[in-house]
Amino acid sequence: MRPDYRFTHKHILGIDHLSCDDIEHILQVAESFKEISSRSIKKVPTLRGKTVVSLFFEPSTRTRLSFEIAAKRLSADTFAITTASSSATKGESLIDTAKNLEAMNPDIIIMRNAISGSPHLLTRHIKTSVINAGDGTHEHPSQGLLDLMTVKEHKQRIKGLKLAIIGDIAHSRVAHSNIIGFSKMGASVTVSGPATLIPRNVERLGATVCLSVREAIRDADVVMPLRIQMERQNDALLPSFKEYAAFFGINRQTLEAARPDALVMHPGPINRGVELTPDVADGSRSVILDQVANGVAIRMALLYLVLGNA
């Protein structure tokens, strides 16, 4: 990291916008915050008096809760708006909703939206800091960062590792953020899965495409199957979950191609028995729950760093 390094981002829209120094710094700050969550009194006054609004236009349990816990452990006041209770259902435009929120003077808006680029639209119309908690099939930066943190904790490095992401790359913002983040930090990223779910020119994001799952996993340090969604069957992208599990699912046998110390990760929620067999999900190589725990630390770091520049 450069000696004169400073974190200067007012918004976190994607890993694409972050430099290697930014990522290193976020991971360091997250590491230092992690200990707070293991205290008996899990709260520090760092963000006392700050207001954090989460604006979720898509259902989410894990990410929303993780951001909320992160904000509360830093003593910020948190408020949550979900589609069911927002004006979006009454036909208010996103910009109007955001401007109304801004008028109440929050410090950060955390947004999840099904449409790629919607947090970018927000930043063009309001002055409040925006953290992207997942936009369409574009990015999910806090997930990418918590995945980097988890791998780094277990492997002490990112550079030189091989990450294999298996499954629905085309519809996965987690895959996008991880391809960008891991390749930026010097890992090699291979993606595999049904060819119908591999987006065109994904190499340009930094990934290598390998249609054979076994080859993709070979010598991998990290294997990351993605959640496969039911609706992909209806879109004629997949014949059936049964066939998916047989040819693209990760099980003990397919995992043999990976390095013996390979980590198994999953952004959750898992379709047990489809993209991942239960024995592997719960097995000794699985760090899936570490990812969730690190998620809180990463989000604490993001809130803290962004508010430092607000």
Partner: protein, 435 residues
């Protein structure tokens, strides 16, 4: 007050490819007609005492430009554009005539809608308006619209523009039945199953932005079908808004075989690439979408070598309500009437397009394809004339936009070359000196 007897355009470069003219000279307009074109530049005031004289030195005097593909939004979406505001924008861009697509509300699929549009056009009179009727009733792609009645009311072509004709049998019948009325069929070529939910070109940028892509094949497959049907029926076919390299190649090969096909592209397809979408700029969202640099190069080549016959703007006004929203929700299309000349002038300056070819693309060929008057400066013709200053530089600001909608990706850009005088039937509809 003296009665103006006519207009004298002096010392301009008269570019009139339909009559093989490209030389300095004077052009005299009286009683709404072109009465004299003098190569020597020697028409003097003499016996025409009350002429309004315009010094056109350094400027191009060309037949009135014809935009064969615009959306005037009237009836139904007058908050975006009206026949009045759209034709005023046309005049400001150097156009003396526009062909307006039928996707109004209601659709122009019957004579009463056609008549309404033409009544509005007559009242406005900033440009000639040539309505294009729908191919199918309601543009639903199911049954033929009444071409004969619409033609009597004033349509010059048929198209379901904005919506592809999915049913190949209906497209075949449309080509055949249009033959009874000598109406050209204009195809919006898009395979909707391939383009479904797509919001930009499919490729590296769509993957990077996480946006649903529209493959180039969605356009090419449908062009291939249209060419097969045009050749099978022997009927003339016009392909709207060509955006891909392979589309240009398909059309070129079909022409070589003798197929009666013509095609247009829009200035944005030879000016911008898909990279304009980066940062989720909804002003770069259109259908067909902006493509890659290789496609842009092929489009330019197609304009130069004759594979493409016309430049049409696909002028598509939308308000901020349709454009300042999430990318997936934003409407397709941009306004184009006021930027077509400067964007085409860039091809003249930088890509070897001759001024005469530019006039063919923007006036001669659209007139020929639609079978309407214009495209010529021959004496005795209605005086539809455009004067272009090829050197005039200007910043295209929102305040300058004449169209009711401001959805242009070229706002706040420095542009070069523009229409400075637009003359319709001998009457000045736009004069840059007066703004």
């Amino acid at each position: 007050m003296t009665l103006i007897e006519g207009l004298l355009l002096k010392n301009g470069r008269i570019i009139d490819p339909a009559n093989a003219v490209d030389r300095k000279g004077d052009l005299l307009i009286q009683d709404g007609k072109i009465v004299a074109v003098s190569p020597g530049g020697r028409i003097s005031r003499g016996r025409h005492r009350n002429l309004a004289v315009y010094d056109c030195a350094g400027k191009w005097v060309v037949p009135g430009l014809i935009d064969m593909h615009v959306h005037l939004r009237e009836p139904g979406e007058e908050y975006k554009e009206t026949v009045e505001s759209g034709t005023r924008a046309a005049a400001a861009g150097g156009f003396t005539a526009v062909a307006c697509m039928p996707n109004t509300r209601p659709v122009n699929d019957n004579q009463s809608v056609t008549r309404l549009i033409l009544e509005k056009a007559q009242a406005a009179a900033h440009a000639r308006v040539y309505p294009v009727g729908a191919i199918s009733k309601g543009s639903n792609g199911e049954t033929l619209a009444e071409y004969g009645e619409m033609q009597q009311a004033g349509i010059v072509a048929i198209s379901d523009d904005g919506r592809p004709v999915i049913n190949s049998q209906l497209m075949r019948r449309a080509l055949e039945y249009a033959g009874n009325f000598n109406l050209p069929v204009i195809s919006h070529a898009e395979d909707p199953a391939l383009s479904r939910n797509g919001v930009m070109n499919e490729g590296a940028i769509s993957t990077m932005l996480g946006l649903r892509g529209i493959p180039t094949a969605a356009e090419e497959i449908m062009i291939f079908r249209e060419l097969a049907l045009a050749e099978y029926t022997g009927r003339p076919l016009h392909i709207a808004h060509v955006s891909t390299a392979e589309s240009v190649a398909l059309i070129r090969r079909a022409k070589d075989r003798g197929c009666r096909v013509t095609a247009e592209t829009a200035p944005h397809y030879f000016t911008l690439t898909e990279e304009a979408v980066l940062s989720y700029n909804t002003l770069a969202k259109m259908n067909p979408p902006l493509r890659t640099a290789a496609d842009v190069a092929a489009i330019r080549q197609g304009l130069l070598d004759g594979s493409l016959d016309a430049i049409a703007t696909d002028h598509a006004p939308h308000s901020t309500m349709e454009k300042e929203v999430e990318f997936d929700l934003a409407a397709n299309g941009i306004i184009g009437l006021e930027t077509a000349v400067p964007l085409t002038m860039a091809l003249v300056r930088e890509h070897g397009l001759s001024p005469a070819r530019m006039v063919e693309l923007l006036s001669v060929n659209p007139a020929r394809i639609l079978g309407v008057a214009g495209g010529s400066l021959a004496t005795g013709r209605p005086a539809d004339v455009t004067v272009i200053d090829p050197e005039l530089e200007f910043c295209y600001t929102e305040e300058m936009v004449v169209s009711k909608s401001k959805n242009s990706p070229f706002l706040n850009q420095q542009l070069k070359g523009r229409a400075v005088l637009t003359i319709l039937d001998g009457r000045i509809t736009f004069n840059a000196a007066e703004i």
